[in-house]
Each structure stands twice: as structure tokens, then as C-alpha cells.
């Protein structure tokens, strides 16, 4: 039943926070190279779903297969799997006590993926790509929000992940900085990076996605191509949501 082309397979995922049921049975798969955007109202479970994929939230029940292995099983070394799943957060979470360069090289060197000099070369190349080459020795405090988020993306890429998870990567940014971050993500998508992104940028989701998930009330209320979701939504809740966010 497992399709070898599936990178992530989720079956009947539930997550409760105390009494509150946030995810009420989500089953989906994400194929290699696929770009999936998750949209929907606040509190609908989008972020929780994304955070379950690398077990930042431990599911209450259900199964998650990553590269064919059940990462929710007992005795699984989740740290090894997380090395292959890059994550970018709404609030950047760059390490303030490290320079830009150290932010990028720390994990690959510490986890034995790269030697120090290799990691430095790679960090410089990646930072160059996102326009932060001249900030290598700066501390994050000196960076703008957009620059911090680009650094956070590079930090995740330095682990050479098989999938990138973005949790509202532009929601905490000043409007004029949204574009620079979206451009970096677009570049990754063009190179074929498997991407799951929770976003409120509808135009962006429509442009880059292979598929769009509309999440509401803890379930995948509707899913389909960007054309399906944005131009011909079937579910009344999708229609209502889109009518509120698209003027």
C-alpha cells in the first residue's frame, strides 16, 4: 500500500491538547518533489498538522511514515529523521548568540554531516544565494526580519534536507520584506525541493503549489490543484474563507 514515490504518508492523524481536539483524523500523502500549500482559518489545525510531521507535536494517535518508516513508532530515533526535514518558523528562531555563519554551520558540523571547512564553504555559498554573503560574521541582532528569515531558511538547508516545512514564514514580517523571503522559497521550489508550506499568502500559494489543502476544524476540508481550490472551490467553508481573504 505504500507508494515508493511518497515522501510523507499520514494516516488518521489525531492531536488533542487536553480537551481540545485540534486534529480530528487527517490522512494524506506528500510525494517527492511535490509542493503543497496549506491554507485555512486560524485555529483550523494547519500549524499543528505541519508540526506533527517532524514530531514537534507528538500526535495523540495516527501514523506518520517518512521515507517509508513509521516515525511515530516506539524506539525510532526522531533526531535522525529531523535532520532530513528542514523547518522554518514564523518567528525565525535564529540563534542570537551565534554569528550568521555559526547559525548555519553549527548543526551540520555537530551532527557529523560536514567537516568545519566544508560547512563554512557551503554556508558561504548558501548565504550568497539568498543575498546574505556580507553578513557572515554579523550577529542576527543586526539583521532585519526578512534577513533573519532568509538566514533561518539557509540554516535548515545546510542539513541538506529531503523536505522543507514552512510554518507561516512571512506572517511576522513587515510587508516590504515578504517578497524577499517568498523569492527564496520560490527558488527552492524551482529546484525541485519537496515543500510543505502553511501560509496566508494566497497569491503565492496559487503560483507555486502543485496541490493546495484547505484545513478547517481539524480536518482537510478540501484539497486540489490551485485552480480547483481558488477558482472552483466546492466546499462552502472554503468559499467563505476565500471570500474573506481575497478581495
Amino acid at each position: 500500500m505504500t507508494n515508493s514515490n511518497y515522501l510523507i504518508e499520514v494516516s488518521d492523524l489525531h492531536k488533542n491538547f487536553g480537551e481540545l481536539q485540534v486534529l480530528k483524523g487527517v490522512s494524506e500523502h506528500i510525494s517527492k518533489g511535490e509542493v503543497v500549500s496549506i491554507i485555512g482559518p486560524s485555529g483550523g489545525g494547519k500549524s499543528t498538522f505541519l508540526r506533527c510531521l517532524n514530531l514537534l507535536e507528538v500526535p495523540t494517535s495516527g501514523k506518520i511514515l517518512f521515507e517509508g518508516e513509521d516515525i511515530t513508532a516506539k524506539g525510532v530515533d526522531i533526531d535522525l529523521h529531523r535532520q532530513k526535514m528542514g523547518m522554518v518558523f514564523q518567528h525565525f528562531n535564529v540563534f542570537p548568540h551565534m554569528t550568521v555563519g555559526e547559525n548555519v554551520t553549527m548543526a551540520p558540523v555537530l551532527l557529523g554531516k560536514k567537516k568545519q571547512n566544508e560547512a563554512v564553504d557551503m554556508a558561504k555559498a548558501l548565504l550568497e544565494r539568498v543575498g546574505l554573503a556580507d553578513k557572515y560574521n554579523a550577529y542576527p541582532q543586526r539583521l532585519s526580519g526578512g534577513q533573519k528569515q532568509r538566514l533561518a531558511i539557509v540554516r535548515a538547508l545546510a542539513m541538506e534536507p529531503d523536505v522543507m516545512l514552512f510554518d507561516e514564514p512571512t506572517s511576522a514580517l513587515d510587508p516590504e520584506m515578504v517578497g524577499e523571503v517568498l523569492n527564496v522559497i520560490k527558488g527552492l521550489v524551482k529546484e525541485g525541493m519537496t515543500t510543505v508550506i502553511v501560509t496566508h499568502e494566497m497569491g503565492f500559494a496559487r503560483e507555486i503549489s502543485d496541490r493546495v489543502f484547505f484545513m478547517d476544524g481539524g480536518v482537510l476540508a478540501e484539497k486540489g490543484s490551485p485552480e480547483d481550490i481558488f477558482s472552483h472551490p466546492q466546499n462552502p467553508r472554503t468559499k467563505e474563507f476565500l471570500s474573506k481573504v481575497l478581495y
Binding site: 533526531d79 529531523r82 535532520q83 528562531n93 540563534f95 553549527m106 548543526a107 535548515a156
Partner: protein
């Protein structure tokens, strides 16, 4: 004007006592803080430890009970307790009661330092832990590489403030004549039957010590902020 004259007379005759007392107070405080940091670090580690047997976390429980007990009883009581208890348990300590007092001060300070360290660790943004874990670092690596270095910036100024309060609190140890600054007041008071004058002198010395240190800490705090 009698008071001024008396102060000058006391200073002329007993200046060396005040000097020794100040040195002893500083030494006592330094030793207390040093061992307080060692004990406090251990307690803080116990309190954040994830080791558990079933639902019970034994290390966490022991440390919590200890910290709550120390913080919930007066220091003077603890000093008396160890002053009487230790020589009873270890007869070799009969002669050196000062040791019992120093130990009590260290154990007391450890509980407060533990809370300072724990608060400093908790004050690090939760997102830092998540970011590090999502890169594939394990809990231990995350604590060492990401959380502790940031916690130190929260902890350091608070520890210095703890040193300032300990300078004042060691005066309680004078109850047992350990030779600190307050003990010197008692000595002079006993010899001259003067109380206000030596109290004024000792008070000024305490104030100068703590005021200078507090100002120094403020500078340190500003430095730590700018290096963020």
C-alpha cells in the same frame, strides 16, 4: 558632636578590626556564592532533569523539596540548626563551629541560586529549543549549544545581585561570632559600651560595599545587553 568624636576615636583605635571584618565578610560571601553556584547548578539540573520512574521524577522531587524548605524557613534558623546539628553528627567538627556556619550559608545560597538558574533557563524563548530540535540536535546537544549559552546572560546579573544580598545576610552569622564585619561591631560594643558609633561605621562600610557592587552590576548588565 560627641558621636563624631567617638567615631573618630574608635576608628583610630580599632581600624584594623573593621579592616579584618570587611575582609572576612567579603571572603565569607565569596565562598558562599561560589559553593552556592555549585550546589545551585546541581539542584537546577535536577529540577529540569527528565529522569523518571513511572510518573515520579525523583531528582526533580528531591531538589524541589530542598529548595522549598530552604526558601521557606529563616536563614537564622538554618544557621542555628547546623551550628548544633553538625558537631553532634560529626564530633570532629566540635572545635570548628565556623565551618558549620559556612556550610549552612552555602546550602542556603544554593537553593536561591538554583531558582536563579532555573528562571534563567526558562526565560530562553521556547522557539530556540524547537529550532535546534528541528535541525536534528538531541535534547542534550540543544541544551549545551543553544539554551545554556543564552541562559548565562540572564543568570549572570542575577547571580551578582545574589552576591550583594549575601554580603548583607552574612551579618546573621555574627550571632556565632564568625569574625565578619558585624562581629566586629559586637566586639567593640562589648569593649567600649558604645553602640551607635560602631553601628554607624559598620553600616557605612556595608553600604559602600553593596552600592559599589550594584553599580558594577548595572554596567555589566548594559554590556551584556549590547553584545546581544
Amino acid at each position: 558632636m560627641d558621636i563624631i568624636n567617638n567615631i573618630v576615636r574608635i576608628l583610630e583605635k580599632y581600624w584594623n578590626l573593621f579592616l579584618i571584618g570587611t575582609a572576612n565578610t567579603l571572603l565569607l560571601s565569596a565562598v558562599t556564592v561560589l559553593f552556592g553556584i555549585i550546589i545551585g547548578s546541581l539542584l537546577a539540573l535536577m529540577r529540569i532533569s527528565k529522569l523518571h520512574i513511572g510518573r515520579c521524577k525523583p531528582l526533580n522531587l528531591i531538589a524541589t523539596v530542598y529548595v522549598e524548605f530552604i526558601r521557606g524557613t529563616p536563614l537564622l534558623l538554618q544557621l542555628y540548626f547546623f551550628y548544633f546539628l553538625l558537631p553532634m553528627m560529626v564530633p570532629a567538627l566540635q572545635l570548628d563551629k565556623t565551618f558549620s556556619i559556612i556550610l549552612a550559608l552555602c546550602l542556603n545560597s544554593g537553593a536561591y541560586v538554583a531558582e536563579i538558574i532555573r528562571a534563567g533557563i526558562n526565560a530562553v524563548d521556547k522557539g530556540q529549543m524547537e529550532a535546534a530540535r528541528s535541525l536534528g540536535l538531541n535534547y542534550r546537544q540543544t541544551m549545551i549549544k543553544v539554551i545554556f549559552p543564552q541562559a548565562v546572560k540572564n543568570i549572570l546579573p542575577a547571580l551578582c545581585n545574589e552576591f550583594v544580598s549575601i554580603i548583607k545576610e552574612t551579618s546573621l552569622a555574627s550571632t556565632f561570632f564568625v569574625g565578619d564585619l558585624m562581629t566586629q561591631f559586637k566586639t567593640i560594643n562589648g569593649a567600649l559600651f558604645l553602640s551607635i558609633e560602631p553601628l554607624i561605621i559598620v553600616g557605612i562600610i556595608y553600604f559602600v560595599l553593596t552600592f559599589t557592587l550594584s553599580k558594577g552590576i548595572a554596567v555589566l548588565e548594559r554590556r551584556l545587553k549590547t553584545s546581544d
